[in-house]
């Protein structure tokens, strides 16, 4: 399926060659960095031991590799290695943090606070707890995508045991005021969990400075393998306790049983070590590419809308609505580029993105949205190819769009009585 194309821009000028298809959906997942893979490989075959085997060389080697990875992860986020618990990924980490705290602290209270734009791994976990009698407050966000600290302050009551707010959003890349949220939680004596999968390795994350008590981490968003993640659990001020959700051999200090995925853990550790080294430079490069994409689109298209604040945002993220063009039809026209859309037509539920709706966007704008996730392996030539292709396709689809024509004729679409029933 892979081909090489000499991309030409809309002026017909040849540009640097790019390999098709182009992957620009790095919030969904990332390819494994070859250096990560190289670090992992020995642990599939020669060094295949069980890290829990205490009485032979094979076990010791595996355990040493796991402890080395634990150090690498802890170092990236300002934690100590004993505070890192390995899991199967961030969905499990979110479940373990939220359910584990809810169960452990149920004598203290039954109230949890989260936000409307959280990942489903958090929202659905909270919904499950509501069935068990817990009370959950879903904080709204502003048009910028940010949680309001006063809303949070007002929501905390004497039954609140946990606040769970993501570090950076997976759709709009917006970075929450995490340090302030954590500070407020600590003042009120409430634990603070953050799903940080999109932020780690992209922006500086420090559990001490950010006042985080529990934090979900995954490997596959930072050029590591899928199926391995971690949960940071603070050991002092405060010492956080969680009830295990998977019972068994008592691995991970009793918090998460199950034989450790040694190659995966080695990969996660290596991915963190690389991020630690390369983040300062990489984030600059990603922001440059993202801004280049944004300005090309803005210069060549009218009626576009940036979703969420640009001020507090991941460097590789751009979420844009091409108003009067439906997202799925746009994806169809750019089928040699992998990006995502908030359009209902691209989701299993036929509902447009709940994250974009939480920003107060109309369904019509949500239907028109595209998420670009620029990552480590994207090049300037790819960004230029993507920009040109989007510009051409949006222009073509707007020629086809009755809405665009009506707006250009000065008709106010909101004043039209649309026949919405039955669709």
């Amino acid at each position: 399926m892979s081909t090489t194309a000499v991309a030409t821009n809309s002026n017909g000028n040849a540009q640097a060659s790019v390999k098709l298809p182009i992957y620009m959906d790095n919030h969904a997942t990332t390819p494994v960095d070859p250096r990560v893979l190289e670090a992992m490989l020995p642990y599939f075959t020669g060094r295949f031991g069980n890290a829990a085997s205490r009485n032979h060389q094979f076990g010791w080697e595996a355990e040493q590799a796991v402890e080395n990875a634990r150090e690498q992860i802890a170092k990236l986020v300002g934690a100590t290695s004993k505070e890192i618990i390995f899991t199967s990924g961030a969905t499990e980490s979110d479940n373990l943090a939220i359910k584990g705290v809810a169960e452990m602290y149920k004598e203290k209270g039954n109230h949890i606070i989260t936000a409307a734009t959280e990942h489903k791994a958090v929202l659905d976990t909270c919904k499950r707890l509501e069935k068990y009698g817990y009370r959950v407050t879903y904080l709204p966000v502003g048009a910028d995508g940010l949680v309001n600290l006063d809303d949070l302050r007002r929501a905390i009551d004497d039954k609140t045991i946990l606040v769970t707010i993501m570090y950076a959003n997976n759709e709009i890349g917006v970075i929450q005021p995490i340090a302030e949220i954590g500070k407020l939680c600590h003042e009120k004596g409430v634990l603070f969990h953050s799903d940080a999968v999109q932020a780690i390795g992209k922006v500086p994350v420090n559990v001490i400075k950010d006042n985080i008590d529990l934090m979900s981490i995954t490997a596959h968003k930072i050029y590591g393998p899928k199926g391995v993640g971690a949960l940071y659990v603070r050991r002092k001020s405060p010492r956080v306790q969680i009830t295990a959700q998977i019972d068994g051999g008592g691995h991970e200090r009793g918090m998460r049983s199950g034989t450790l995925n040694v190659p995966g853990i080695v990969g996660l550790g290596k991915a963190c070590a690389l991020a630690m080294e390369e983040m300062p430079e990489e984030s600059k490069r990603l922001a440059f590419l993202r801004d280049r994409l944004k300005s090309k689109l803005e210069q060549n298209l009218d009626e576009i809308h940036i979703n969420g604040t640009m001020e507090h945002r991941l460097p590789g993220n751009l979420n844009m609505s091409f108003v009067y063009v439906e997202g799925e039809s746009l994806l169809m026209g750019i089928n040699d580029i992998a990006v995502s859309s908030g359009s209902a037509c691209t989701s299993a539920t036929l509902e447009p993105s709940y994250v974009l709706k939480a920003l107060g966007l109309g369904d019509d704008v949500a239907h028109s949205s595209i998420r670009f996730g620029i990552g480590r392996f994207n090049t300037e030539a790819e960004v230029d190819y993507v920009a040109d292709k989007i510009i051409d396709t949006v222009k073509k689809l707007r020629e086809l769009s009755p809405l665009y024509e009506m707006v250009k004729e000065g008709i106010d679409l909101k004043k039209i009585q649309w026949a919405t029933e039955g669709h």
Binding site: V325, S329, M332, D363
Partner: protein, 139 residues
Amino acid sequence: MAYSDKVIDHYNNPRNVGTLDKSSGQVGTGLVGAPECGDVMRLQIKVNPETQVIEDAKFKTFGCGSAIASSSLATEWVKGRTVDDALTIKNTDIVKELALPPVKIHCSVLAEDAIRAAIGDWKKKQGVTAPAAVEAVKG
């Protein structure tokens, strides 16, 4: 999602894209769907007053590839037919022709609605009480 070759063909080469003069007595305009639902189709027909044959048809659609293909196909099918004959086009015919999956059937329903709305609008202009199921949306 995999699209059928016919959907891709209509998407890449949409037939009869454009706008007819909606103030003309010969032209009927159907505007169906809603922006918040992610689909809006505008289908226009130009009818010969003598023969009642649809001599021209144009469309513009905001929607997914299947919605674009359904409306593009609808314009092809109504052209050359009489108004009454065009009313016999069923959404299921469109589903079959374009091999639409179940999740895209609503696109074909919308295209049938658009045909009916355009014919209804034309009939109204002729002073006939419109029997068509869907009324044209006022622009």
